[in-house]
């Protein structure tokens, strides 16, 4: 019985076109990288911002754009189309934060937005901090600083 059920599930699961997905992701992800580099050059050339600050400005601009578009409602469709091309760049982080905040808005300011805003993107922050702590401690102990 169980085997036949598994077989039926396998038959009706929609088949993902791996090659097609990978191609679209390569194009859109590459375009995100080009946009990032383009923004850095604009900040450097036309606003005379030093390189380090220009990279920060670029990240903040991308986060602002993806938060705004998620609130306006059409960023979800883009993510469905581009998949990892928009999830892996910093836009995915902002998208996760913004959509969680919008979803839990009706539960109130503290218990809704405040408690759930970092529900999805909190994992990235937590494991990033733990990983960087372990690796930088290792590097400090081995003494290759």
């Amino acid at each position: 019985m169980k085997d036949t059920y598994q077989a039926i599930v396998k038959k009706h699961t929609p088949k993902e076109d791996t090659f097609h997905n990978a191609f679209i992701t390569f194009i859109t992800g590459g375009l995100m990288g080009v946009i990032g580099e383009f923004l850095i050059e604009i900040y450097q050339k036309y606003m005379n911002v030093p390189y380090k600050e220009a990279t920060t400005c670029m990240l903040i601009t991308l986060i602002f754009i993806s938060c705004l578009f998620t609130s306006l409602g059409f960023f979800d469709k883009w993510v469905n189309f581009c998949k990892c091309g928009l999830i892996i760049p910093i836009t995915g982080f902002a998208h996760a934060t913004q959509s969680a905040a919008l979803e839990y808005k009706k539960e109130g300011l503290i218990t809704g937005i405040g408690a759930n805003m970092l529900k999805l993107s909190g994992a990235v922050i937590i494991y990033g901090i733990i990983g960087s702590f372990i690796f930088s401690l290792l590097r400090a102990l081995v003494g290759i600083v």
Binding site: T18, I90, F93, K105, S132
Partner: protein
Amino acid sequence: MIYLNAFIFCGIICTIGQIILDNTNFTPGHITVIFAVIGTFLDVFNIYDKFILWAGGGALVPITSFGHTLTHGAIQGYNEGGILGLFNGTLNLTSAGISAAIIFSFFFSLIFKSRD
């Protein structure tokens, strides 16, 4: 030329993520966490700095750069203030991204409504 490098680097990182997503049953959350941790590891031997020199913005946009800046800040803090600096400096360089995401999404969620 750096635009081409940025396109290739960011595209390849995203494609690797998409291939992992298609062939396993990980969610996008798993993928972003894996890539952030890979980024923290790549900074240990200053490998990621070379990627940034080569690809510019293309290496700064993916989430791996988030992990890279975390480790970078921690090591910078360690050089300045020992073990205590490790705790002080971890979020030093990344705070702009985290704060921006929290601030913008708070104010936008006050203004806009969820649309489902």
